[in-house]
Symmetry: C2
Subunit: 372 residues, 2 copies
DNA sequence: CCATCTTCCTTCGAAATCGAAGATATGGCG
DNA sequence: CGCCATATCTTCGATTTCGAAGGAAGATGG
């Protein structure tokens, strides 16, 4: 997929362009060059022409789409006790998504080999015959060094520290490989659902607290830990020591794990963050109060970041996100304390991409590698 | 300066490239095309060949520089009671820099007209004859809407709210005009001195507290308030109401103005932030303690941002920055509390560009407009 | 001092890209 | 319905860009 043609494909795949004219506008190439290239791409079976779009006052554009047989991407999102796995076509549309149990504590070798086998599984069961796999990618619940594809100092992944995940996964497939933090993938996935938002913060509120940032339309990786807010010190009366060794980390008060441990101590049995959401929906006051407090603490941290980054939107996802009081108190804290200029057009809402956000994000980022 | 040629000029002007070979590497153009273009640019008097560079194991490169007669930029940095003004050549090198008294409280019309006159002044006195002015720009001690060039909701600039600064300045000069927040300009200026740092936080500690951010080599503007940290709530025993109406803003404790007011209450007379620095250098314990506390508070705020953005460096500038205890306690707070991954290669130090950082930044940003 | 390697830069035919003009298709309006 | 304005897409000659080959200048190492 040599240079300029890859650019055109990417624009179509990412949903930015649907016609030759749009491609010309967005790519900066002359309309005639675009036509030539598109003809070639159609000739080689990567693009297909599909009906006509709506007129904007003149001749209707001929819609372009990636051919469903252009290729497949196999993507995964690893959690502590289960993994979501999916196959996407090159435009990022899911063919299948499954959730399977999987213990990350089994260590990297076992988990990655299991993932490779699961991908083969999905391909055999759902892959249209003759359509080649073009890339594989996975999200990891911990920091990933963007340069090397290694996991770096994860807090809840025993045995994974410094493990070369990308390398191991690449040994199974001779293809472009993507390994990225799960919250970062969520951010990349949500970005497709927020086309007007150049800078976006995506909060993953589950048993941990993660956050991914898109700045100017691109994922901001920093040194691999960018977006981390879980070990920010929060204002609090009591004093709790976090697993990281510091006192009063956000994670120690507002993560799903923290909420669950408090509830369990109070004799209210919960096993997963979703159970907390259920309690809130049932109107159990202890749970509601806890969730509301968590939202306030998270919101106070976001306050600093909103003033600093001025995002266009804050998206809340993760297994705790369906709990209404969570987002309500995040909103309250942010709107109350941030600069008017920063909140004037700021939208704070729950995920538009749903539980597959990370898989979609993996697809989106993989495209860049596959169509390079 | 049509497209591709502008790109080449910009690479030379910004100091990224010094030879045809480097231009070819950085611009992505073929070496032969670069040679052609460079020949034209030399022909039209914008570039000059100047001696030979150092060999990297083969033939020595022929050094390229922007012609001193290619053009001038007039830039300013407005403060509350004075302004720095300068002329730069197109490679951003200052020809003159002057500081003149100037009351921003006189309102936008008077100030901007004064600035225009001062620019004419400088040109008459120091502009080489026949070299055209190619752009003007200024820094403003308040938020600027990047889209319109208007000042938005500034806290200490009576009469400036919503004033179209860029428009008024443009009325004096029919040229590209840049209006930008002063801390943002400082960030753009420092960035040239930190060539290996893709993402950079630049703190301006003066009578106020400002901050500018470069993300992936580009200034991050957000909605015009990006980088604002002055109204972050800090942990504190007492309770102070800030001018913004909220309690316990960083600015109310750690800004130069706040330090000065405390010192004056204690009967130690200070009029400018530099006086505070002098007291610290004289070993006056009240001043040192205050500055150290300010550094700690600032550092605690930076903690959150460092974890989130993972900058490559934090640069401290502004009139308070020469006070050693300030940066020492910022360092202490950040290194103590941030994630190891975020601080591993993080450099925290004082300005490399000195007091002209904002002027240099204005030049750097103006170039993009002038050579577009 | 000479062969060899590296890097810088230019030359020149091949290939890609452009842009102006025109062909095609559609909506709007009298 | 016919005409105009608008937008999409193609054709084709002019221009730009590329890339392979080679010349120029210096480093390296016998």
């Amino acid at each position: 997929m040599r240079g300029a043609q890859g650019d055109l494909l990417r624009l179509v795949a990412a949903g930015h362009a649907e016609s030759r004219a749009e491609l010309a506008r967005l790519s900066g190439l002359a309309a005639s060059s675009v036509s030539l290239r598109v003809e070639e791409l159609i000739g080689s079976g990567l693009l297909v022409e599909e009906g006509a779009g709506t007129s904007r006052g003149g001749r209707r554009p001929r819609r372009l789409r990636l051919s469903p047989s252009a290729g497949l991407l196999a993507v995964a999102d690893l959690g502590a006790h289960h993994a979501r796995l999916g196959l996407l076509d090159l435009s990022g549309t899911p063919l299948v998504v499954e959730e399977r149990p999987c213990e990350i504590a089994d260590g990297p070798e076992a988990t990655i080999d299991w993932m490779a086998a699961a991908f083969e599984d999905l391909l055999a069961a759902h892959g249209p015959p003759g359509v080649p796999l073009r890339g594989v990618g996975t999200g990891i619940p911990g920091p990933v060094d963007p340069a090397t594809g290694r996991v770096v100092a994860p807090s809840r992944m025993p045995g994974w520290n410094n493990f070369p995940v990308a390398e191991r996964l690449g040994a199974h497939f001779d293809l472009p490989v993507l390994v990225e933090n799960d919250a970062n993938l969520m951010a990349a996935g949500e970005a497709r659902s927020w086309p007007k938002c150049e800078t976006l913060m995506v909060l993953k509120a589950g048993s941990g607290i993660g956050c991914g940032v898109m700045v100017n339309g691109a994922l901001h990786r920093g040194r691999g830990a960018a977006g981390d807010i879980s070990h920010v010190r929060v204002r609090s009366d009591s004093s709790v020591t976090c697993s990281c060794g510091h006192d009063d980390c956000l994670e120690a008060y507002a993560s799903g794990a923290a909420l669950m441990s408090v509830l369990n101590e109070q004799g209210i049995e919960v096993r997963r963050p979703a159970d907390v959401v259920a309690l809130v929906e049932d109107g159990v006051p202890e749970a509601t109060a806890l969730v509301r407090n968590a939202g306030r603490l998270i919101g106070e941290v976001l306050t600093v970041l909103v003033n600093f980054i001025n995002p266009d939107a804050i998206v809340v996802g993760g297994s705790l996100s369906p709990a209404e009081p969570l987002i309500a108190s995040i909103r309250a804290a942010v709107y109350e304390r941030c600069l008017p200029l920063a909140t004037r057009d700021l939208e704070i809402s729950t995920t538009r991409s749903g539980p597959d956000a990370a898989l979609l994000g993996a697809g989106s980022l993989l495209l860049d590698a596959v169509l390079a």
